[in-house]
C-alpha cells in the first residue's frame, strides 16, 4: 500500500495535493448529505490518486478534474466512467492491490446516488460485471446474497445444431449452406448474447428452407394418387394432392411429424391455424405443391428453427423463478452435449415426469454421459475451444524450414490426449496442465474415415524431439523436462505463435484469462502493436519495447507468463538454445539462385526460460519461475485455477458469462468436481442440473 506515508516523493506530494483538493471539494458540497463521503475520499486516495495525479497522470486523467458537484455533463460522464471502471473491475489494474469488493461497492453506491441526485443519466451504470470482470472472491468466498438473474432468452443455433436439427427434420440429403456464422465471444463460439438473424443470414436460411421444403415434398403423381419419392415425408402427401383441398387435421398431422415441432410446448392450435391459412392462401394463388412447400419453408424459418427457446414455460415458483418445461429441458440437454436436437425417448420420459426434479435431470445427464465421448461431441469441443489449439493449422509455417511439420496431426494428437484424460476422468484439470504423456503423429483426417487412429509415414515425431516413431501403444511418456500438459503440446504452442516466431504475449494472455480468470484490456485501437523485426535479437530482447510505461501496464500481466514458453521454438519443438540471425555473416544463397531467395545466416544464443507468476490473487503461487515446468505445476496446484476452469465450463454450457447470481451454481459445481476426485463428468452433471441451467427469472422490464 502506498498510502501509509512511509514513502515520500514528488509524486506522493502530487497525490496528496490531489486528494486534499478533492477532499475539500467533497466536504464543501456534501456536508449536508446523510452519509459523509470520507470513506469515498479515502478509497480514491488509496487506490486511484497515486497514478491519476501529478504532471503525467496515467491515461491523461487526473482526479482533480472530477468536480464532485457533477453539474456539467462532462464531469458527470467522467464520474460515470470512473464508476463503470470500478464496477467492471478494470481499475485499479491487476498489478495494483485489489480493493475489497465491499469498499468498491460503497463508492459505486455513493456515485449512483449523487449522479441521480444531480439528474445525470445513469443507465450506463446499470451493468453487472460478468465473466472475468466479476471478482472471483465474490463468486467463491463472499457470503451468498444475490438471487439468480437469468432472464428468458433466445439462443441462436450453433452451426452444428442448425445442421443437426434441420437435416433431421427435413430428411435433406444434400449439403445445406451453413447460415449460422459464429465468432468467439468470451473465448467460446456458441454463446447466446447478441446473436440474431440479420439480412445476410436470413437470405441463406431462406434458400436452405426452400431446398429442405422441396426435398421433404418430393413426389410424383400416379393418376390422381400422390406417391412420395425417396426422401419425401409421407405425412405431407395429403397436402400435395392436386385435386382435394386437405382438411386442417391433415396439416396438423403433417406438422406433428416434424422434429422441429416436437421440441417445445409453444406451438398450439392458433399457430397451426395460421399455417393452415398460409397453405390455403398460397394454394388459391398457385398449386398444392407450391402451397405445401410454402408451409414447410415457413416452418423452417420460424424462430424454433433458428433459436433455442429457453423461456421457462413452467409456472413461477415462490421466488418468481420459472423452470424450463420438460420439453425445453430435453432440448437444452441435447443442445448442451450432442448437437442433436432431440432424444424422442428422453422426451417421452420427460413428459412422464422424469425431469421434474433436479436429481431426475442429473440422472438423465449421467445416462447421456455414459455413452462414448463421440456421442457427446460438445464435450471435446469445449476443450478445443477452451485451449484453442485447433487453430494451429491456420498459422502458416514455411515448410522449407521444417519439412516434418504437419499441423493437423498435432491437433489430432491433442484431441486424443484430452479424450484419454477424460476417459480416466480423474484429476482432470491437473492432468491437463501437467501430463507428460502425448500422442505422436495421429492423423485426424484419416481417423474420421477409418474410425481409428492412423499413424502414417510422416516424420511428425521430430516435432516432439523424438528420433523415430515410438514403439507400442500410445499415448507415450515423454521426458519430464520436455512436456507438461496441453500448454506444451505443439498444437497449443503453434496456435499461439507467429509465422516465424513464438508469441509469448498471446500465451501469457491466455493463461491470465483462462487459468487466472483476470481481464486484460484489448489492445488500444490507437496502438500499432508490432515488435521490432530485428531477428538477430531474441524474442525476449525484442519484447523489451513493451516495457515502456504505456505498454507495461498491461504487458506486465502477460509477458512474464508467456516468456517461460521460450523453452520451445515456434514449431513447438523443445530446445536448449535459441536460433537468431547473424548479421555479421553473409546471407546464404538459395539452392536455386534464380528461384530461391537467399536466407540470413544464423547462430545459437543462450536460452532464457525464466518467467513469473505475479498479481494472481492466489498468494500460494505468486513468485518467479525458472521454466515452464515450474510455472505449470504451480498453476495446477492452485484452487483458484481450478475454480476458474469451472467458471469457463459454466460459460460454455450455459452459453453466457457468469454473473453474481450464479455463485451458488458455481460453488456446487466446484464442490462436485472436488468431491468426485476431479471428475469432468461430475462437473458437467452439476452444471446441467444447476439452477442456472434449469431456471429463468421473470423479465424486469417490459
Amino acid at each position: 500500500m502506498e498510502m501509509n506515508g512511509m514513502r515520500s516523493s514528488a509524486s506522493d506530494l502530487g497525490r496528496r495535493m490531489a486528494a486534499t483538493l478533492l477532499l475539500s471539494l467533497l466536504v464543501q458540497v456534501t456536508s449536508a448529505q446523510e452519509t459523509p463521503p470520507r470513506d469515498v475520499v479515502a478509497f480514491l486516495d488509496q487506490h486511484c490518486a497515486k497514478c491519476h495525479s501529478g504532471a503525467k497522470p496515467k491515461g491523461d486523467f487526473t482526479l482533480t478534474r472530477l468536480d464532485p458537484r457533477m453539474l456539467t455533463a462532462t464531469t458527470a460522464s467522467e464520474w460515470i466512467e470512473t464508476a463503470r471502471m470500478l464496477i467492471m473491475g478494470e481499475m485499479p489494474p491487476a498489478s495494483r492491490p485489489r480493493p475489497a469488493a465491499a469498499a468498491s461497492a460503497q463508492v459505486v453506491a455513493w456515485l449512483r446516488a449523487e449522479l441521480k441526485r444531480v439528474g445525470a443519466d445513469t443507465h450506463e451504470l446499470e451493468i453487472q460485471p460478468t465473466g472475468n470482470h466479476l471478482d472471483h472472491t465474490r463468486l467463491f468466498s463472499d457470503p451468498l446474497d444475490a438471487p439468480l438473474d437469468n432472464p428468458p432468452r433466445l439462443w441462436r443455433f450453433s452451426p452444428q445444431l442448425y445442421f443437426g436439427l434441420l437435416k433431421a427434420s427435413s430428411g435433406e440429403r444434400n449439403p445445406l449452406t451453413q447460415a449460422m456464422s459464429s465468432e468467439r465471444v468470451d473465448g467460446f463460439f456458441d454463446m447466446a448474447a447478441g446473436r440474431s438473424i440479420d439480412v445476410g443470414t436470413l437470405s441463406t436460411l431462406m434458400r436452405n428452407a426452400a431446398r429442405m421444403a422441396a426435398s421433404a415434398t418430393v413426389h410424383h403423381l400416379e393418376g390422381d394418387k400422390v406417391v412420395m419419392d425417396r426422401g419425401g415425408l409421407g405425412s405431407f402427401a395429403a397436402l400435395l394432392d392436386p385435386q382435394l383441398v386437405p382438411e386442417r387435421k391433415a396439416l396438423d398431422a403433417a406438422l406433428n411429424s416434424l422434429l422441429v415441432y416436437r421440441r417445445t410446448q409453444l406451438p398450439g392450435t392458433e399457430e397451426y391455424a395460421a399455417l393452415y391459412a398460409l397453405y390455403l392462401k398460397t394454394r388459391r394463388e398457385s398449386t398444392a405443391a407450391v402451397a405445401a412447400r410454402a408451409v414447410l419453408t415457413a416452418v423452417f424459418l420460424q424462430p424454433e428453427s433458428m433459436f433455442r427457446l429457453e423461456l421457462g414455460l413452467d409456472p413461477a415458483d415462490p421466488q418468481g423463478r420459472r423452470r424450463l418445461s420438460p420439453a425445453e429441458i430435453v432440448f437444452a440437454l441435447g443442445g448442451a452435449l450432442r448437437d442433436q436436437p432431440l432424444d424422442r425417448a428422453q422426451l417421452d420420459r420427460a413428459r412422464k415426469g422424469a425431469l421434474d426434479t433436479r436429481e431426475g435431470v442429473a440422472t438423465e445427464v449421467r445416462a447421456m454421459l455414459a455413452a462414448p465421448l463421440s456421442s457427446n461431441p460438445r464435450i471435446l469441443r469445449f476443450f478445443q475451444e477452451y485451449f484453442a489449439y485447433t487453430s494451429a493449422p491456420d498459422v502458416f509455417k514455411d515448410k522449407a524450414l521444417n519439412p516434418d511439420f504437419y499441423a493437423p496431426a498435432l491437433v489430432g494428437d491433442t484431441d486424443q490426449l484430452i479424450q484419454v484424460i477424460l476417459m480416466r476422468d480423474k484429476d482432470v484439470v491437473k492432468e491437463l496442465l501437467t501430463t507428460r504423456e502425448s500422442f505422436i503423429g495421429s492423423r485426424w483426417d484419416l481417423v474420421k474415415n477409418t474410425g481409428g487412429p492412423v499413424y502414417p509415414k510422416t516424420n511428425n515425431f521430430r516435432t516432439y524431439n523424438l528420433d523415430a516413431w515410438p514403439e507400442g501403444m500410445q499415448p507415450v511418456q515423454l521426458p519430464v523436462d520436455q512436456r507438461c500438459g496441453i500448454l506444451t503440446q505443439p498444437s497449443w504452442l503453434v496456435a499461439r505463435s507467429q509465422n516465424f516466431n513464438n508469441d509469448a504475449i498471446r500465451r501469457g494472455k491466455w493463461i491470465r484469462e483462462h487459468l487466472l480468470g483476470q481481464a486484460i484490456l484489448d489492445v488500444p485501437i490507437t496502438v500499432c502493436a508490432k515488435l521490432p523485426d530485428d531477428l538477430s535479437q531474441t524474442l525476449r530482447t525484442r519484447m523489451e519495447v513493451t516495457r515502456q510505461e504505456y505498454c507495461w501496464t498491461c504487458h506486465q500481466s502477460m509477458n512474464p507468463l508467456g516468456l517461460a514458453f521460450e523453452q520451445y521454438d515456434h514449431f513447438g519443438r523443445y530446445r536448449t538454445s535459441e536460433t537468431v540471425e547473424d548479421p555479421s555473416k553473409p546471407p546464404i544463397p538459395g539452392r536455386n539462385p534464380k528461384l530461391d531467395p537467399p536466407t540470413a545466416a544464423k547462430h545459437e544464443v543462450a536460452l532464457d526460460t525464466t518467467g513469473a507468476l505475479d498479481f494472481t490473487s492466489d498468494p500460494t503461487i505468486d513468485g518467479p519461475v525458472a521454466n515452464v515446468h515450474e510455472l505449470l505445476h504451480r498453476l495446477a496446484a492452485s484452487t483458484r485455477v481450478r475454480q476458474v476452469f469451472v467458471r469457463h465450463a459454466f460459460r460454455y454450457w450455459m452459453g453466457r458469462p457468469e454473473n453474481i447470481g450464479d455463485a451458488t451454481s458455481l460453488r456446487e459445481a466446484d464442490t462436485a468436481y472436488v468431491a468426485s476426485g476431479g471428475s469432468m463428468k461430475a462437473l458437467i452433471v452439476a452444471l446441467l442440473s444447476s439452477d442456472s441451467f434449469l431456471y429463468r427469472t421473470v423479465p424486469t422490464s417490459p
Binding site: V199, A214, E285, T297, A298, P303
Partner: protein, 473 residues
C-alpha cells in the same frame, strides 16, 4: 407473365406497412436508406441513372511495380518494415497514359486506357499487416481485429441502395467453400458474406425467375408475411436485449419482403439479363469460378439488383492460398509469395500471370457494362471499378503503399481519364492515405465524409483528411 392480382394488392399493402409502421431496431441502419429509396421510387423521384461501384480485390498483395506503365520510372524506394525511407519520391507526380504502353499485367485494359487511373503511393498503415489485412483493406482499420467497422463497399452500399444493397462474390483456396465473411462489413461486428459458389449466387440473385422456382418465389411473399405475424407468439416472453433479437429478425424479414417486391418489379429486366449457368458455375477450377462470378456480378448490376459489387479473389488470411490451376500453375499463392517458382518461371513471373488474369476479368466486366445503354451513354459511364489487394503491395503486407486501379469516372465525378498518379511517399508533404481515397469515392457517390477509417497516429491529420483533390471532379 403478368403479375397476378393478389400479388399487386399484397405489394401495395406491404409497402405501406413498411414505410409506415416499421419498428426500427438493430436493423435500422440497414433499412433506412433502402426504405428512403423505396419512397423515392414510389414518388417517381429517381430519374437519374444510379451510380455503381465495383471492388475487385485480389488476395495477398499486388506489387506496385506490376502497375507501372512502360517507360515510366518509379521513384526508388525501399519500403519495408525496418527502413521505409525513400530517396526520390517527395512530390506528387502525374503521367498521362496516352504516351505510354501499359505494362504486361495491365495490357487487357488497353481498350479502356482513357478511362483508367493508376494510383500509387497511398498508405494504409492503420491496417498493420500480415498475409491479408482482411476487413481492414476496405475498412482502413487494424487488419487482424475482425470486422471492426464499416468497410467502404458497405458505406457506398448505404449511399447507393438497391434491392441487394451489397453483393459479395468470390473464391477461396477451398473449391467447396460456400460462403465466407472475409473482406466486407456492414459495420462493426457485422460482416457481409462473400458467396463462393457461382450456382448458389445465381440462385440467390436470379432465383425469382428460374424455371421451377418462380412460383415458389412468388409464394415467398405469403411466407414472409406469415413469419412477421408469427413472431408475436414469442415477444411477450422476452424483454430487453432478448426481445431485440426478435425485433432484429423482424427487421430482416421486412427487408426481405421489400426486396421481394423490388425483384418482382424487375422481373422483366432479370429475365433479359440473367446469365445462362454453364459448367463454370460448378467448376473446381478457380479461374472458371471467378469468370462465372464476373458474369453474375455484371448481370446483377445491369438488372438493377445491386449498385455495389465486391469480387474477392482469395481474400482473407485464412483463404488466400489459392492455386491457379486454370493458368497452368501448380503451386499456391503462398509459395509464390515466398519466391517460389516452377517450370523455369520465378515467383514474380507467376504472380504477374495471375495478376493479368484478374485484370482480364476487370476488362471483361467493363466491356459488359459498356454495351448497355444508359442515359446519354452507357452503364460504364456511371460506374467505377476499383482494383486493389487485401494485402496492399506485398505477400507480407506492411501497407506503406497500396497500389490501386480505378476504371470509370462514376458519372463524371472522378478524374480518371488515362492518368498515372504517384503520391509522395509516407510522411512526405502531400502524402495521402487509402482513407482519403475512400472518402473520395464517397464524395463522388454523393455521400461526402471528411475521412474514412481510422487515423494513422504516426501521420499528421493533414495527410488523412478530405478527399483526394487530384481525383475528385
Amino acid at each position: 407473365m403478368s403479375t397476378p392480382r393478389f400479388f399487386q394488392a399484397s405489394t401495395a399493402l406491404s409497402r405501406r406497412r413498411l414505410l409506415g409502421n416499421l419498428t426500427l431496431g438493430a436493423g435500422a441502419s440497414l433499412l433506412a436508406p433502402f426504405l428512403s429509396r423505396l419512397a423515392a421510387e414510389d414518388s417517381g423521384a429517381t430519374a437519374k441513372p444510379p451510380r455503381r461501384v465495383v471492388f475487385l480485390v485480389e488476395g495477398n498483395g499486388v506489387s506496385a511495380e506490376h502497375l507501372v506503365p512502360r517507360g515510366v520510372v518509379r521513384p526508388q524506394s525501399s519500403f519495408n518494415s525496418t527502413a521505409h525511407n525513400v530517396t526520390d519520391a517527395q512530390t506528387f507526380r502525374e503521367v498521362t497514359l496516352a504516351g505510354h504502353e501499359l505494362p504486361f499485367c495491365l495490357e487487357p485494359l488497353a481498350p479502356f486506357r482513357d478511362r483508367l487511373a493508376i494510383v500509387q503511393g497511398l498508405s494504409g498503415r492503420v491496417c498493420e499487416g500480415g498475409h491479408s489485412v482482411n476487413f481492414g483493406a476496405l475498412g482502413q482499420y487494424g487488419g487482424q481485429r475482425g470486422p471492426a467497422g464499416e468497410t467502404i463497399d458497405a458505406a457506398l452500399a448505404k449511399a447507393l441502395p438497391a434491392p441487394f444493397p451489397h453483393v459479395g462474390l468470390g473464391i477461396t483456396h477451398n473449391p467447396n467453400e460456400v460462403l465466407v465473411q472475409n473482406v466486407s462489413a456492414w459495420d462493426a461486428g457485422r460482416a457481409l458474406p462473400t458467396m463462393c459458389q457461382p450456382d448458389a449466387a445465381m440462385y440467390a440473385l436470379f432465383g425469382s425467375i428460374a424455371d421451377g422456382a418462380k412460383d415458389d418465389f412468388a409464394a415467398n411473399a405469403n411466407v414472409l408475411d406469415f413469419l412477421r405475424g408469427d413472431l408475436k407468439r414469442l415477444s411477450h416472453h422476452l424483454a430487453g436485449p432478448e426481445r431485440a433479437k426478435l425485433e432484429n429478425y423482424e427487421n430482416s424479414l421486412a427487408v426481405m419482403r421489400a426486396r421481394h417486391d423490388q425483384i418482382t418489379k424487375r422481373s422483366d429486366l432479370l429475365k433479359r439479363y440473367a446469365p445462362q449457368p454453364g459448367p463454370s458455375y460448378t467448376s473446381l477450377v478457380e479461374t472458371e469460378r471467378l469468370d462465372a462470378h464476373v458474369e453474375i456480378g455484371a448481370a446483377a448490376l445491369i438488372a438493377g439488383l445491386t449498385n455495389v459489387l465486391t469480387i474477392a479473389s482469395g481474400c482473407g488470411g485464412r483463404y488466400f492460398e489459392v492455386t491457379f490451376k486454370g493458368l497452368g500453375i501448380s503451386i499456391d499463392k503462398h509459395q509464390i509469395g515466398h519466391g517460389g517458382g516452377e517450370n523455369g518461371k520465378s515467383g514474380d513471373e507467376l504472380a504477374q500471370t495471375i495478376r493479368r488474369f484478374h485484370i482480364e476479368l476487370m476488362a471483361k466486366l467493363a466491356a459488359k457494362l459498356q454495351v448497355v445503354p444508359e442515359g446519354n451513354g452507357t452503364m460504364l459511364d456511371n460506374t467505377a471499378i476499383i482494383y486493389l489487394s487485401d494485402s496492399a503491395n506485398a505477400h507480407h503486407a506492411t501497407c506503406w503503399e497500396w497500389p490501386t486501379l480505378i476504371l470509370g469516372d462514376l458519372g463524371g465525378r472522378l478524374k480518371t481519364k488515362g492518368r498515372y498518379l504517384e503520391y509522395p511517399r509516407y510522411g512526405r508533404t502531400g502524402h495521402r492515405t487509402m482513407g482519403c481515397l475512400y472518402a473520395t469515392l464517397l464524395h463522388a457517390a454523393g455521400a461526402p465524409r471528411g475521412s474514412f477509417g481510422q487515423f494513422d497516429k504516426a501521420l499528421g491529420k493533414e495527410f488523412q483528411q478530405g478527399p483526394l483533390g487530384d481525383l475528385l471532379m
